[in-house]
Structures are given as C-alpha cells and as structure tokens.
C-alpha cells in the first residue's frame, strides 16, 4: 500500500532541506559576525540602544527607555547603522535559504504523507520532521513581520540537530498505522501539538538569549548585537502566549481522542502525564510573570524548564516509558 517512489522523493527532499539549511545557518552566523563591527561604530555615536532597537527589531519608541536610562547612556538622535554590503547580503541569502529549506521540509512531509495515504505524523521520525518543519514555518512567517535575522542561527541550528537525529536515530520506513492511530484526531491532536512545540521551541531560543544577556551583560560578542533584554523578554512572552492556548487545545483534543480509542478521556498514561506536566509548567510561567516577588528572569527560567519537559516528553517518554502511547515505531 505504501508508494516507495514517493517515500524516496520525500527522503530526497529531506536531504536537500538539510543541505540548504546548513548553508542558511552558516550565512546567519556570518551575518551576526558582520553586525559586530557595525555595533562598535554605532556605540561611538552614543545611540546604541536606540539603534539596535530600530535596526533590528523595529519596536516603538519608549520601550527601551528604562533600560537606556539604567545604563546611563544618553539617548541621542537615532543614527542608522551602516551594515556592510557583505553582511547585508549574507543576511538576505540566509533568509532566502531558510525559506527554501522550509519549503523543502514541507515537501518532505507532504510526500511522506502521500506515500502512505495518511497524515505524516505516525512515528518519531515523522514527528521530528514535522516539528522541524513547523519551527521553520514559525520562524519564516515571523521574519515577514519583523527583522529577526539575528535569531536565524539560534533556530536553524537546533532544527538541523533535530533533523539529524530524526534521520539517524528515529528513522522509520514509510508504512501504515496501527489501529489506535487511525483516527481524524491524529491529524487534529498531533498537528496542533507539533505547531505549539514549534512555537515553544522558538520561544525557548529567544528566552535563552534573554537569559544569557541577563547573565553576561550586553557587552560581549554576539550578545551585544541582539535586541535589548526587555525586548527579548517580551518576544519570549509573545511566542508563549500563542503556544500555550494551542497546547491547551492539544490536551483537550488528546482527551477527546483517548475517550474514542481507549475508553476513558484520562488514563494517567505516561504521555498524558507529561503533556499535563508541560501544561502546568507553562501555566506556572505565565503566573510567575505576574507574581510579585518574581523577576522576569526567574519566570523565563520556568519557560525554559517547560521546554526541557517538551524535549524529555519527546525523546525519553516516547522511547523508554511503558504506556499506551508506545507508537514510536522504534
């Protein structure tokens, strides 16, 4: 029943995507490196915070006020940073490659689905590929709305690691699904789960950059060319408040499906437990952010813990824990 030719093309698309994304990652690194000298000269014009903000993120005025005041820098008139032609070019090509890589990942998933006549989310390999795909989609779509080229390296890099793992450790031949997976809820529940994982992933990446800036200051290396901490923190939050309702939906849809397939909407199966734990941890993040006595920094650590749970849920619970979700295909 599986179409071997299409499955072959799907794998080909994946290899191509990995080549293109590797190039994209390298060029994002070149771009970041190129920002460094631009930053140095901007600093001389004593308008650095404002500049970074305008140039890189384009946030409205006012957001950076406290940060600037705190560091005792006079806010002068914004002096546009002159990016070298090389840097600008590297950023542009990196972005184009990211888009191309994303399209190739979409092709990978679609061809895989066509080859088995089903939704391509039936085993760990497919989760890995589709989660990477959505992460790239989130990033590329976000890049349409604001300049997030500074983030490219920190998204494409991890995506490549996951794709590498998918190909080497989790690879499973294209095939049909076992009976309990043959349901429309597979498409609904797992797809939404993967989209929110993608958003959590990008959110975690930005959150870690924020935490790094907090810990090491903004004067060092790459940290210096990122948007200021306040902006990073808000972007982290912004991504999480999209992801969290989607995860809530995942939880509800999973419960509905569990009633269909297993006879009870909640069974305390390890995978269910972890989905719940992840939900609670992210709820705690949103809580911590508005709890008096909790800094934004500590709250962001909870968000990072949430993503660690997401990774464990995927890489450890799927493979090693005995439960009704043992569908990894390994």
């Amino acid at each position: 029943m599986t179409n071997e030719t299409l499955a072959g093309y799907s794998n080909l698309a994946l290899y191509s995507a990995m080549v293109v994304l590797t190039l994209s990652m390298v060029l994002y690194a070149v771009y970041l490196a190129g920002l460094l000298p631009a930053r140095e000269s901007a600093r001389e014009s004593a308008a650095e915070a404002e500049v970074t903000e305008r140039e890189l993120v384009g946030v409205g005025a006012g957001a950076g006020a406290s940060e600037r005041a705190g560091r005792g820098v006079e806010a002068g008139p914004p002096a546009p940073v002159e990016l070298s032609a090389r840097t600008r070019k590297a950023g542009g090509i990196a972005q184009s490659f990211a888009v191309l890589g994303t399209l190739l990942l979409v092709a990978t998933a679609v061809l895989r689905g066509l080859s088995v006549h089903r939704w391509p989310l039936g085993n760990m390999y497919e989760f890995g590929v589709v989660a990477s795909m959505f992460t790239m989609v989130v990033f590329v779509v976000w890049a349409l709305r604001r300049d997030v080229k500074w983030l490219g390296l920190f998204v494409v890099g991890p995506v490549l690691v996951v794709l590498g793992m998918a190909l080497t450790v989790w690879y499973t031949e294209a095939s049909q699904l076992m009976p309990s997976l043959q349901s429309i809820w597979l498409a609904i529940h797992v797809t939404v789960a993967t989209i929110s994982v993608a958003l959590f992933a990008v959110g975690c990446s930005v959150g870690l950059l924020y935490l790094a800036q907090r810990r090491f200051g903004r004067s060092r290396g790459v940290l210096a060319v990122l948007p200021e901490p306040r902006v990073l923190e808000r972007l982290t939050y912004g991504l999480h408040i999209i992801a969290f309702p989607l995860w809530t939906f995942t939880l509800i849809a999973g419960a509905i499906w569990a009633r269909q397939a297993w006879g009870a909407y909640w069974n305390w199966d390890p995978k269910e437990v972890w989905t719940f734990v992840i939900w609670v941890v992210y709820a705690a993040y949103l809580h911590a952010r508005v709890t008096r006595g909790w800094s934004r920094e500590s709250a962001t650590w909870i968000a990072v813990a949430g993503f660690i749970c997401v990774i464990l849920n995927y890489a450890v619970v799927n493979v090693y824990f005995v439960g009704m979700h043992s569908y990894s295909g390994l």
Partner: protein
C-alpha cells in the same frame, strides 16, 4: 502607575505586618497565604513535580503485574515506595493534597477577584492624571475647533475605538477598554473548577466493565456477566440498561508488506462485527466496533480494547463422554500473540481427581531448539502446547484466575516413556490420548475473541464543556489588551484652535499602545474635517 483595578494579589501584604495574631487572625493569615499568587505558583510547580513519578514507576491501576514485579525486584526501595503511595501516585493522599490545596487557593483567589471585577465593570474609568506627558505613551496635536467641540469629538473617537468613556470635568475625558481580559481570565480559572467537578462526578457515578467474548457468543449488560466490574462508589449495579450483544465475527489485519524492524506483523486493523439489541424486544442492529469506533449503547459505551484467540478444546473421559468443550480464551503475551491459558475440567475423573491443562496457544507455531513459539500474529499454523495436571483444581474453593492453574494441590502427569513431564502438542483437528486411561483432549478449531469494555462516565460532558470554556477564557485573557486613555484639551495658539493631548496606560508592557493612541487621534482628525 499601574492598572490598579486588577488586584493580582488580593491583600497579601497587610497580614504579614500584623503584630500578634489571635486564633482568628491566624486563620486569616493562613487563608491569605494560601490564596496568594505566590502560593498558587508554588503549588503549580509542586503539582508538576508530583505528577512525574507516576509516569516513571509502574502504576498498579494500569499494570498490576508489572508493579508487583518491580516491587519484587527492588527489595529495599520497592516496599518503601509502595508504603508512600508511589505505585498509585494519582490516588495517593499527597497528590490529592496538592491539587485540593491548589483548588482551595483557586476558589479563594477567584471569588474575591470576580467581585472586584464585577464592580470595576460597572464603575467609571478614573480621573485623568495631571500631566499626560508623563504616561508611557502620549501624543499631542493641534486641531481646529473650540475645546468643547474637540472634547466631544475626542470622546466619540474613543468610543468608536471601543473605549468606555467618562468626563469628570470640561477639559478631560477618561477612557478604558479591555474588560474582557479579566472576564476571560476569571472564566478560565472558574472553568478549571468545573473540570475537577466533572472528573469527580465521573469517578463517583461512572463504571467500567470488561468481558472477553469469543466469536459466536453473546453477552448481556448485567453485572454478573462481566469478567471484571469496577463501579464508582455511588453506582447501583442492578440498574444497568439490559442491552445484549453477540459477536458475529472478528477481523484482524497485520502488516505483511513492510519488513522493517518494528513494522512487520504490527496490527493494522481490528473490527468486531456484532449484533446489538438495545433492550429486550427491540429490533436487532448490526454494528462494527473498531478500535477508534466504539458503540454507544445508550447504557454505556462499548469499546474494543483487546483481542486474541480462543481455541475450542474438547476433553473426553475414557468412555468417550465429553467432560469439557469450550472456546477457551488464551491471553496474548506479546506482539505475535504467544498466548497463555488454562483448561479446567471440573468434573471429577477416576479416583475423584480433576484434570487441568495449562500452556501456550501459538497462532503461527514454530517448534525448534529454542522451544515452542509463535512467529506471526495471524492464525496461520495454530498449535497448542500444553502440560497436564491432576488433583484438586480449586483448593479451598478460593477464587483464582481463569487463565492459569493453581497447581498447589495437583501433580503433573509424566510422559509414559519416562522423558519427564508430559508434553502435549496439538494442531487444529488433532486429538491426544492421555496416558493411563484418563481419556483424550482435542483441539477442534480456533476462533478469535474480542475484549469488550463497557464504560459509563456521566461527568464527561461537564468536563468537556468546562475545558472548552477554559480555553476560550484563556484566549481572551491572553489576547485582549486592557488599556486606559486620557484626553485633555486646551486652547491652542490661534483663535479657534485647540491642543489635544492624549496619554495611554496599559497593563504590562503593551507594544500596541502607541498605535492605539495614533488611531484615536486619526479618528478625531477625521471628525474635525
């Protein structure tokens, strides 16, 4: 300045400063601590941590056998963890304590907040601050018109941006919007309580019952007919709706094309074809129950949760009289349906001894130096591999598993050629003559059985609706922006000119506030031209 109508932390601080507390004071102090947001946060994190061991250690209600094995293998840790409830985490007192505290905290937090929000929704936005330029977002323009006209139009502009407005004097207007944020937030938290009530309701009034039904056999929805029945504390098992069901046929398909590891032989589809009669006298309907397609019986939902083989086995005594003839279910132990089971011939044979057989059913049997095993889950070459015992089947009349023999008061039959214990190998249609005039055993044929589970959960609708309300509330709470805007008018530089200053205040940092003010000013300008 902050949006003070939103007491994220209702009165936490003043309790701490009270010098000496009376008993009442202590209670209030504890209550305030419990309902503080910091405690809620702590309990949330604690709940996450407490839920984890149940996903790592085997749980008794899910897999009792694996749990017992684990405890036996870990002689020191096992019993201690067992005492502490680590094998029934989600029913343990400490787990319950955490979520109950969390929900008391939730109620204690949400009820006062609802009251405040109710008041806030019906009160007016506060007076404009003296200097609007001090607000985080502000703008100023000069337009044609008298201050009164301009203020009137500014009010209209604010309203068309869906602000609620109020003027305390002739030169200012205060506006506020985004009340839905707090409404959504409260709905979210209240709905969580609904989810818990729904779950509790389902536990108290729900039940589940399992039965193994070989092809060709029937069942009725009465408590005594089930192999296992787990009713909630408030369930009257005599009031089950008396539907009946016959398993006509059972289809199973296994993967044969893809040879990859973990794929070949995995199940692809299971279908139980049943004849279903909703109540005595009602017309019979044909139904297919599938793994993702349960049958709503009207008195519980019938699920297909398992399947396996029930070889029909006949035992005869020395004279050829049938002493046992049943489709005997053997339970699958692995993916290739190597199944274990037992035959208990309760009628006494010669010398008052009962016969018992135990062993394996192998759907696609192989017998080589590694012993008898199955190579594929489908019944391609079915065989039975049995050993035989005689003696007392039910010592002391105690209840025991149908699928294994209690051999404590039985002796194993020996091979007449002295090759050790008697080993019986039967393929379909074969008969084996037992030694010593004990009669014979025949493997007539094999049919599949369906493991049917009937379940009723009257709380599920409440849980589902509450969960969806929670989701909706969450989305409102996270997307709606709570914003305040203030407008002040003053005479402008020339005759008939007015300076309009607008300032905005948002909860949390709100990137869109500047745009919002811009939008209001644009609407104002439209009105002035």
């Amino acid at each position: 300045m902050s949006l003070s109508t939103q007491p994220t932390d209702p009165g936490r601080d003043e309790a701490i400063t009270q010098p000496r507390l009376s008993a009442m004071g202590w209670l209030r102090f504890i209550w305030r601590q419990l309902t503080s947001m910091r405690t809620a946060l702590f309990l949330l994190l604690l709940l996450a941590v407490a839920a984890l061991p149940g996903s790592i250690l085997p749980q008794r209600n899910i897999d009792a056998v694996r749990t017992a094995d684990w405890i036996a293998q870990n002689e020191t840790a096992g019993p201690i963890l067992d005492k502490l409830g680590f094998f029934e985490v989600y029913g343990s007192p400490w787990f319950a304590a955490i979520y109950l505290l969390l929900f008391i905290s939730l109620v204690g937090c949400v009820v006062p907040r609802s009251r405040l929000h109710w008041r806030a929704m019906r009160s007016q936005p506060p007076r404009a601050p003296k200097r609007l330029e001090r607000l985080p977002a502000h703008a100023s323009i000069e337009v044609d018109g008298t201050p009164e006209d301009v203020l009137r139009d500014a009010t209209a502009a604010l309203r068309s941006s869906r602000f609620r407005t109020h003027s305390y004097d002739a030169t200012t207007v205060s506006a506020e919007k985004g009340y839905l944020k707090e409404t959504g937030n409260l709905a979210f938290h209240l709905a969580l309580i609904g989810v818990i009530i729904g779950m509790a309701w389902g536990y108290l009034f729900g039940w589940r019952a399992d039965i193994i039904l070989p092809v060709g056999e029937s069942m009725a929805n009465v408590a005594a007919r089930y192999d296992t029945l787990r009713p909630g504390p408030f369930v009257d098992t005599s009031e089950f709706k008396p539907f009946t069901m016959t398993l006509e046929d059972f289809d199973a398909v296994f993967e044969t094309k893809v040879k990859g590891e973990g794929q070949f032989g995995t199940p692809r589809s299971f279908t139980a074809h049943v004849q279903f009669t909703p109540e005595p006298g009602a017309p019979t309907q044909k139904w297919d129950i599938e793994v993702n397609g349960p049958l709503e019986t009207g008195g519980g939902t019938a699920y297909l949760l398992g399947n396996g083989y029930a070889p029909k086995i006949t035992v005869r005594d020395a004279k050829g009289n049938i002493t046992y003839s049943e489709k005997t279910p053997f339970l699958a132990q692995d993916n290739v349906y190597t199944s274990t089971g037992a035959v208990k011939v309760s009628g006494a044979g010669p010398a008052g001894k009962q016969l018992g057989f135990a062993g394996l059913f192998l759907p696609t049997a192989i017998l080589d130096e590694k012993g008898p095993r199955s190579a594929f889950p489908d019944a391609l070459e079915p065989a039975l591999a049995l050993t035989a015992f005689e003696g007392t089947l039910f010592p002391g009349g105690r209840p025991q598993s149908v699928y294994s023999l209690n051999t404590s008061e039985m002796t194993q039959l020996q091979d007449p050629d002295g090759k050790g214990p008697l080993r019986i190998w039967l393929t379909q249609g074969q008969t084996y003559e037992l030694p010593g005039g004990r009669g014979s055993i025949t493997f007539d044929e094999v049919v599949r059985f369906a493991g049917i589970s009937v379940r009723s959960d009257p709380g599920k609708e409440l849980t589902l609706v509450s969960a969806l309300v929670a989701l909706l509330g969450l989305i409102l709470s996270l997307t709606v922006r709570r914003r305040r805007a203030f407008v002040r008018v003053a005479p402008g530089t020339g005759e008939g000119r007015t300076v309009v200053t607008i300032g905005g205040l948002a909860k949390d940092d709100d990137e869109g506030m500047g745009d919002q003010l811009e939008d209001v000013l644009t609407r104002l300008k439209e009105r002035r031209t």
